[in-house]
C-alpha cells in the first residue's frame, strides 16, 4: 500500500478521522455548521437526525464526494486538500456503501468486486478474484458471483456493495442510509452483515434510521439537526436520557409506535 508515505502519519494512537471547524455551503445554504468530530480507531458511530439535517453530506465529505469550504478533515493521518492525488489516497482507505447500492450494472458481481483491485491496487486478476470471492463468501452471496447486479434482489445487491467496498481493505467504512431503499424483508440480511463487520473491529460511520442497530452495535450515537451536531452520547444515554429537547422530540417521533 502506498498510503503510508510522508503525508500520512497513521499509527495506532492517531484518530481514524479528525474533523475541525468544518463548514459547507450549497450556494447560500449553510448545510454544515462548525462541525468538530473525532472518530477513534475501531469506533462504531451511528449518525441520525431528520432529513435535510446534513448527516449524509457530512460523511460524504470524508471521501471528498462533497467539497467543504472551511475547516480541516484528516483521515488516517492524511489531511484533505484539493490535490487529487491526496484525495485518491484517502479514498483508497475509505470504503463507502450507498443508499441506492450504485453497483455497476454492466459488470458481473465478481467484476464489480475486482475492478478497483485491478485498476487502483494493480493486483493480478487471479489474486483480485480470490479476494473478491473471499468477501462475497463473507456476505454470503458467493454463489451469485457470475450474475449481473440487475438479476439480484435489493438486499443481495447491497451485500455485494459491501463486499465491493471491503475488497479494497479499507481502514474505515462509511454507510449512507444502507437500508433505506430496501424492502422490509431484506433489511435484516444487510444489518446482519454490518453487525458482523462491527464485531470484527472495523471502524464504521453509519447514517441510518435503524435504531435497533444503533442500540446493539454503536459505541456512540450522533444526533444532527440543521447542519450541526446537537448531541452525541453512548447509545444507552442517548436513548434513555437524551439531554436536548430537539433530540427528545426526534426520538419520540421515530420511536413513537
Amino acid at each position: 500500500m502506498t498510503a503510508n508515505n510522508s503525508a500520512s502519519a497513521s499509527s495506532a494512537d492517531t484518530p481514524m478521522i479528525e474533523v475541525e471547524g468544518l463548514n459547507k455551503w450549497y450556494g447560500d445554504f449553510h448545510v454544515l455548521r462548525d462541525i468538530d468530530l473525532t472518530v477513534g480507531r475501531g469506533e462504531r458511530i451511528v449518525v441520525c437526525g431528520p432529513s435535510g439535517s446534513g448527516k449524509s453530506t457530512l460523511i460524504r465529505c470524508f471521501n471528498h464526494l462533497e467539497e467543504h469550504q472551511q475547516g480541516r478533515i484528516t483521515v488516517d493521518g492524511v489531511t484533505m486538500t484539493q490535490d487529487i492525488k491526496r484525495i485518491e489516497q484517502i479514498r483508497r482507505n475509505v470504503g463507502m456503501v450507498f443508499q441506492h447500492f450504485n453497483l455497476f450494472p454492466h459488470l458481473s458481481v465478481l467484476d464489480n468486486c475486482c475492478i478497483s483491485q485491478t485498476w487502483v491496487q494493480k493486483k493480478p486478476r487471479v489474486e483480485a478474484e480470490k479476494t473478491a470471492r473471499e468477501f462475497l463468501e463473507r456476505v454470503q452471496i458467493a454463489d451469485q458471483a457470475d450474475k449481473y447486479p440487475g438479476q439480484l434482489s435489493g438486499g443481495q445487491q447491497q451485500r455485494v456493495a459491501i463486499a465491493r467496498a471491503l475488497c479494497m481493505r479499507p481502514e474505515v467504512m462509511l454507510f449512507d442510509e444502507p437500508t433505506s431503499a430496501l424492502d422490509p424483508e431484506m433489511i435484516k440480511e444487510v444489518l446482519d452483515v454490518m453487525v458482523e463487520l462491527a464485531h470484527d473491529g472495523m471502524t464504521m460511520l453509519c447514517v441510518t434510521h435503524e435504531m435497533g442497530f444503533a442500540k446493539t452495535v454503536a459505541d456512540r450515537v450522533i444526533f444532527m439537526d440543521q447542519g450541526q451536531i446537537i448531541e452525541q452520547a453512548p447509545p444507552e444515554t442517548f436513548f434513555n436520557n437524551p439531554e436536548s429537547e430537539r433530540t427528545k422530540l426526534f426520538l419520540s417521533q421515530i420511536l413513537g409506535h
Binding site: 464526494l65 450507498f98 478497483s116 449481473y148 440487475g150 479494497m168
Partner: protein
C-alpha cells in the same frame, strides 16, 4: 376466514392457436371487417409489386455485353454488368486493382473477426484494425512506396471510394465525438468552451458547405507550396462534421447515467479516465447504440455528396455512366442499382447494431 393448507402447483398456460393458420386467424382474419381490409390490402400490394417484379426480374435482360442484348421490355441489367468494374474501382488502373481487392478482403476479414463474438484475440485484432490497417491500406491504395506505382486519389472512385470515405468517417468520428462529449461536460472552463465552440461550429454548417470550403476555400488560405490532397481535405471535413453530431449523441448517453455510478467509482479510488473508460462510457455508449448507428447510416449515405467537389463515388460513377453515348436511357437501372447497394450496407449496419444491443443487455 379461510386458511390454505396446500400451496397451488404451477400449471402450464392454456393452449394458444399455433402455426401459420393460427397466426393468420389471429392477426388478419379475426372478424368480418378485418378480413375485408386484409383482402383489399393484399390485392393492392399485388397490383403494385407485380409490375415491379416483372420489370426488375422476369422481363429483365441479364446476359450480354452491349445494349443490343437488351430487348427493352424489362430492366437492362447488362448496363450494370458491363460497367461493373468501373462501379467498383472507379478509374483505378487495371493492373493495380489487386491492391484494392486485397484491402477490401482485409477489411472484410477484420470486420467479420470483430463482429463475430466467438473469435479470440479481439484486443489485438481491434488494435491492428485501428492502427496497422489504415497505414497498410493507405500504402497499398496510394502506392508510391515499396515498388508500388503511385495511384493519385483523383483516380480513385466508385464503391471503393465510397467505402474509403465512409470507413474513415465512421472510424474517425466516433472517438473524436466521445472526446468532445467528455470535454463538453468537463469541469475545466477552457476545455468546455473549446468543445462547445467546435461542436456548434461544425453542427451549424451544412455538409456541402464544409466540402466546398475544404476543396475551394482552403487552398486560397494556405501557401501554394503546401499541397493537401483533395480527398484528404474532404475526409478531414467529413470526420469533423460528423464527430460534432456524434458528440451530442454520446453526451445524451452520458447524461442518462445516474450520478451514483460516478460517485461509487470515485469512492473506490478510480481516477477520472478510469471512471470514464471503465464505468461511465461503457454504459453510456451502450445506451446510445441506436443513435450512434443512426449517425453512421446518415454518414454512409451522405458520402455521395463528395460528388459536388468532383470526386467520383459510387453514385457519381453510375451517373457518369448514364451520359455514355452507347448506353443512353438506362437511368432507372443505374439509380435502382445504386439504391440497392446503399441499402445493403445501411441495412447490415442496422441489423448488426440490433444484435449488439441484445447481446450487451445485462438485465437492468
Amino acid at each position: 376466514m379461510t386458511t390454505r393448507t396446500e400451496m397451488i402447483e404451477a400449471r402450464r398456460p392454456p393452449d394458444m392457436r399455433r402455426g401459420v393458420v393460427g397466426w393468420l386467424r389471429a392477426n388478419l382474419f379475426n372478424g368480418p371487417l378485418n378480413s375485408v381490409l386484409s383482402v383489399i390490402t393484399m390485392v393492392l400490394l399485388a397490383m403494385m409489386l407485380w409490375p415491379m417484379a416483372k420489370w426488375a426480374l422476369i422481363d429483365a435482360d441479364w446476359l450480354g455485353s452491349t445494349r443490343e442484348a437488351c430487348s427493352g421490355e424489362g430492366a437492362c441489367w447488362v448496363f450494370i454488368s458491363a460497367r461493373f468494374e468501373t462501379i467498383i474501382y472507379g478509374f483505378y488502373p487495371d493492373p493495380e486493382r489487386w491492391r484494392v481487392n486485397s484491402v477490401l478482403a482485409m477489411m472484410t476479414l477484420l470486420v467479420a473477426w470483430l463482429a463475430i463474438p466467438r473469435l479470440p484475440a479481439k484486443r489485438w485484432v481491434g488494435a491492428f484494425a485501428l492502427v496497422g490497417f489504415p497505414i497498410l491500406a493507405y500504402v497499398l491504395l496510394n502506392g508510391g512506396h515499396f515498388g508500388l506505382v503511385e495511384v493519385p486519389t483523383r483516380e480513385w472512385g466508385g464503391l471503393m471510394l465510397t467505402l474509403t470515405v465512409a470507413t474513415v468517417g465512421i472510424v474517425g468520428s466516433l472517438p473524436i465525438g466521445v472526446v468532445l462529449a467528455l470535454g463538453r461536460r468537463s469541469q475545466m472552463p477552457l476545455v468546455r468552451s473549446l468543445c462547445v465552440v467546435f461542436i456548434e461550429f461544425w453542427r451549424g454548417v451544412p455538409l456541402i458547405t464544409v466540402l466546398f470550403m475544404a476543396s475551394v476555400m482552403l487552398p486560397l488560405f494556405v501557401p501554394t507550396e503546401v499541397e493537401f490532397d483533395k480527398l484528404l481535405r474532404a475526409l478531414i471535413g467529413i470526420m469533423f462534421f460528423w464527430s460534432a453530431y456524434m458528440a451530442e449523441v454520446v453526451r445524451g448517453g452520458l447524461q442518462a447515467i445516474p450520478s451514483g455510478q460516478e460517485e461509487a467509482a470515485k469512492a473506490l479510488g478510480l481516477g477520472y479516465w478510469r471512471r470514464m473508460g471503465l464505468i461511465v462510457l461503457p454504459q453510456a455508449l451502450k445506451m446510445v447504440i441506436p443513435g450512434i448507428v443512426n449517425t453512421f447510416i446518415a454518414l454512409f449515405k451522405d458520402t455521395s455528396l463528395v460528388l459536388i467537389i468532383g470526386l467520383f463515388d459510387l453514385l457519381a460513377i453510375i451517373r457518369a455512366g448514364l451520359t455514355d453515348s452507347d448506353w443512353l436511357g438506362f437511368a432507372t437501372e443505374g439509380y435502382v442499382f445504386a439504391a440497392l447497394m446503399f441499402w445493403v450496407f445501411c441495412f447490415s449496419m442496422s441489423r448488426y447494431s440490433q444484435y449488439i444491443e441484445r447481446r450487451l443487455h445485462t438485465g437492468h
